[in-house]
């Protein structure tokens, strides 16, 4: 068994920042990650970091843009915290040596991004995330923070009180990928989940194969509600054949979208008469698919993104990486021809419910980064707002876990007096584990465990048994089959345009996946670097997370932000200014709602029509 004050699960931008903050606050902290830190998917972020740095800009404008972008589903205390802290935390990165792009006077460069009223997206070429990730890892090395890399965290050690609000987290159980051994990691002060997004729940995604929602699934099964999971961002410009991301920075610098008739459709067809290509991502993604659906797509699949008019010099200076990506992954030279693009799953606005200090409803359990939902992004995340979220809320979660007092939060968490139960929607199938005979199944991983004493030991034992069952089984279904089926269902039915029938189909298929998973087995008999085993466990996590996405999409019968429903194509503020929360509740998903907080420090954000 290993023991530290604070255990951070995941070593991308949020995890590294949390670890540095916990270290600054005097805690003995360790990072546990299934990847070496520099392999984390933060490194693929391209565009930049929104921060009100310049004279003439203001954190209040950033907060306003973010709230509008969220379609009024962001919580004001979180949104304002992000906007207030981002400038200082961005400057902190600069002091840590991050190689930002520079202006003539030597100040850091900022550029326009979708949905912003001021060009405040601070960038380092078109590879801002790469530089942020490496800069943060450098700080971890400098501080001598312990890193357990290629250790896959499989479960949380949480006590088993009936009410999740009474439970405590005492550590994690992880699997050493290289050796196959399973060990407990005791956390004397707290566990911070910073395990990244769940993009692999979808077939066409910009996300890495490692983005399997592990943090979401572990917190969910331990009793923490997942919040606003239906809000999935589909990035308007991913390469059609691979899903590789083409940064919004291309449009920020002046790139133009054309349909197959050479029309600049964002204006021609009135999708965004003021902002055009720089409308919010959800608006542009729907516009592109509408073009394709109405027969104006290229090869009935995609549209063109043209940046040739920017000139070679400007492209090489600010977007060089895009040229390489288009060339390597689509065989297109962006200097001489337009690039094919279509919407691809990109980001989960929802996630593990936390307050503005990163605290979940379980004592000792925190979350930050894409796996968390604070919530700042609400119904739609603005480009350039993910990286500041990592550093601002990573830092806060790290401080909080280490015991530093950040003050009383305004955001409530967990099932309590202020929530409203879901009562209306009929589900097509029984979701969750209910109804499955898991008594002797390889899929069973028990409920959450016993009392504080020995809770970690018991969780270790349970995890070892679970792995043994998977390894001992000689035949059955392989995870890759189930995973592909799940991904296809999500991309087919829970995509940009959603219908009640489609979502119900997806829920039925997810149920089938869950049933098939009862018979899953690991073919590779080796304990050395067994990725077959790891992916099998990840697939279970994906099933749980995909189900919450589909359930959220089904119950929210309105059109808000990235979530569009055919049956009710308007934003319904009367009924839906509230967060969707889904908790595992002993294997039976329970759905409830909590009102959004629109009251900021000294003003209230009144929902307005969202046009760009």
């Amino acid at each position: 068994m290993y023991e530290h004050d604070v255990i951070v699960v995941g070593a991308g931008g949020a995890g590294l920042r949390a670890a540095v903050a916990a270290d600054e606050a005097g805690a003995d902290v360790a990072l546990v990650s299934k990847l070496h830190p520099v392999r984390s998917h933060t490194g693929a972020a391209e565009g930049g970091i929104n921060a009100a740095l310049q004279e003439g800009d203001d954190w209040e404008l950033h907060a306003y843009d973010t709230m509008k972008g969220s379609d009024y589903l962001g919580d004001a205390p979180a949104v304002e915290t992000l906007a207030q802290d981002a400038p200082e935390d961005t400057m902190r990165l600069e002091h840590w040596g991050m190689p930002f792009s520079r202006e003539e006077d030597g100040t850091v460069s900022q550029r326009p991004f979708g949905g912003l009223s001021y060009p405040r997206t601070t960038y380092a070429g078109a590879e801002t995330g790469h530089h942020l990730l490496h800069t943060m890892y450098e700080q971890v090395v400098k501080r001598g923070i312990e890193v357990y890399d290629e250790w896959y965290v499989m479960d949380l050690a949480v006590t088993d009180e009936d009410d999740p609000n009474d439970r405590e987290c005492h550590g994690v159980v992880a699997y050493d990928v290289q050796s196959g051994k399973i060990e407990g990691f005791k956390a004397n002060r707290g566990v911070v989940l910073a395990a990244g997004g769940p993009g692999q729940a979808f077939d066409h995604t910009t996300n890495a194969v490692s983005c399997t929602g592990d943090g979401h699934a572990m917190a969910y099964r331990a009793g923490v509600p997942l919040e606003d999971m239906e809000f999935i961002q589909f990035h308007p410009t991913s390469l059609p054949s691979t899903g590789v991301l083409i940064s919004e920075g291309v449009r920020g610098e002046g790139g133009i979208l054309y349909n197959n008739e050479g029309e600049r459709f964002m204006f021609e067809y009135g999708y965004a008469n003021n902002s055009g290509e720089l409308a919010s991502r959800d608006v542009v993604a729907r516009a592109e698919l509408t073009e394709v659906n109405e027969g104006r797509g290229v090869k009935d699949e995609y549209v063109h993104l043209d940046m040739r008019h920017l000139g070679e010099e400007r492209i090489m200076d600010r977007l060089e990486n895009i040229l390489h990506l288009a060339e390597d992954f689509e065989g297109v030279d962006g200097l001489i021809e337009p690039m094919p693009v279509k919407p691809g799953q990109h980001y989960a606005m929802g996630g593990i419910e936390t307050d503005e200090n990163g605290q979940t409803c379980i004592d000792g359990l925190y979350a930050a980064g894409e796996c968390a939902c604070v919530s700042v992004h609400g119904g739609n995340r603005l480009g350039g707002n993910a990286l500041p979220e990592l550093i601002v809320f990573g830092k806060r979660a790290g401080y909080q876990a280490a015991g530093k007092d950040l003050g009383e939060p305004e955001i409530q968490t967990g099932y309590g007096d202020d929530v409203e139960d879901e009562t209306e929607t009929e589900l097509p199938v029984q979701p969750g584990a209910a109804g499955l005979d898991t008594s002797d199944s390889v899929a069973a991983d028990g409920g959450v465990t016993a009392d504080a004493e020995g809770v970690l030991e018991q969780t270790v034992e349970r995890t070892r048994q679970r792995v043994d069952r998977l390894m001992d089984k000689d035949d059955g279904v392989q995870h890759s089959e189930i995973r592909q089926k799940l991904q296809n269902a999500m991309t087919d039915y829970v995509n940009v345009f959603r219908t009640e029938d489609g979502i119900k189909k997806a829920l039925r298929i997810i149920r089938e996946c869950r049933e098939e998973y009862q018979d899953v087995y690991v073919d590779d008999p080796s304990r050395t670097f067994n990725t077959d085993l790891q992916q099998t466990i990840e697939t279970r996590n994906l099933i749980d997370v995909a189900e919450t996405i589909a359930l959220g999409a089904l119950v929210r019968n309105e059109f808000r932000g990235a979530h569009w429903r055919q049956e009710n194509q308007v934003r319904d503020d009367e009924n839906w200014l509230k967060h969707t929360l889904i908790s595992w509740d002993d294997g039976e998903p329970k759905i409830f709602y909590r009102p959004v907080i629109l009251e900021g420090e000294d003003k209230t954000y009144e929902p307005k029509e969202r046009s760009y």
Partner: protein, 290 residues
């Protein structure tokens, strides 16, 4: 990790094309539904072609894999297919124990550097169409093989850490009074290429000097130091401190300018040039060198 084997270093590695279970695709693994491009039968009609890959296999604890061998796989070709696509297809369709690191699929996480047809390359950005078949896919040479295409990266990471790979300036002020440091565009441009390193290890694996001198810092670590040493935001005394680390016995002077690192770097970093420039800096500083 006690029973690892040094992998064969040349293309004359032992090979057994008739290895059991690997030669022909297995029908029962055929999958249903979905992405037409990837979900066809094992005898694919897709563009009428299959790609023949020979993949290095080794597992220290599995009978039949303790002796390194090559397995043959035939995977359906599709336009734009990369080496990573091919091994993923082989794993997901024919043999789930086929093991390799990969994550982002877009050449930024640096996980999937392999030795492909005798050259270090990133699997995800190497087009199948550009390669002679059968395509030999091996783990990076000069590193211990953990399993199949997975090598032990610890030594590489250790070398990276040796050069104090973090920004060093006067005490970072308190949060409240963080004044932005200025940097000229020219200076940022100067370090630009060096900042692109994704720690894939291709350079270190290609380097003859590193192969013979286990303590040699290697191209990646020296390039990391270059990034800081050339950044005007670091004070002069820190730069001198960095040069002292670099001019030690196993530092920059070991480089014999064979350019192999520069040739294999998937991010086109001019590693050899950076090393030579640091040599010149060390001389200019009139530092004692080996």
């Amino acid at each position: 990790m006690s029973t690892q084997q040094q992998q064969p270093e040349t293309q004359e590695a032992p090979e057994d094309p008739e290895m059991k279970g690997a030669e022909s695709p297995v029908d029962e693994k055929e999958k249903e539904g979905g992405d037409i491009d990837q979900q066809t039968t094992p005898e694919p009609e897709l563009e009428g072609e299959t790609v023949h890959i020979k993949v290095f296999r080794y597992d220290p604890e599995v009978e039949g894999k303790q002796e390194p061998r090559f397995d043959d796989f035939h995977v359906p070709f599709k336009k734009g297919m990369t080496v990573l696509d091919a091994v993923m297809y082989a794993r997901d369709t024919y043999d789930s124990s086929l093991t390799f690191r990969h994550s982002c699929r877009q050449a930024v996480c640096g996980s999937d550097a392999f030795f492909v047809n005798g050259k270090q390359r990133l699997g995800c950005k190497t087009q199948i169409a550009d390669l002679e078949q059968p395509i030999r896919i091996e783990p990076l040479p000069h590193q211990e093989v953990v399993k199949d295409l997975v090598v032990d990266m610890d030594h590489f990471y250790d070398q990276m850490h040796t050069v104090e790979p973090y920004f060093q300036n006067e005490d970072t002020p308190d949060a409240s009074d963080l004044e932005e440091q200025r940097q000229s565009r020219e200076n940022r441009e100067k370090v630009k290429m060096s900042t692109r390193c994704i720690w894939c290890g291709a350079c270190m694996s290609s380097c003859n000097i590193a192969a013979g001198d286990n303590e040699y810092l290697g191209p990646a670590a020296i390039n990391k130091a270059y990034k800081f040493a050339m950044d005007d935001r670091e004070p002069e005394d820190v730069k001198e401190h960095r040069l002292r680390i670099l001019e030690q016995e196993h530092g920059v002077w070991r480089c014999q300018t064979q350019f192999s690192c520069t040739e294999v770097c998937p991010k086109d970093i001019p590693l050899t040039e950076h090393i030579q420039e640091l040599k010149r800096e060390a001389v200019k500083k009139n530092l004692k060198f080996w």
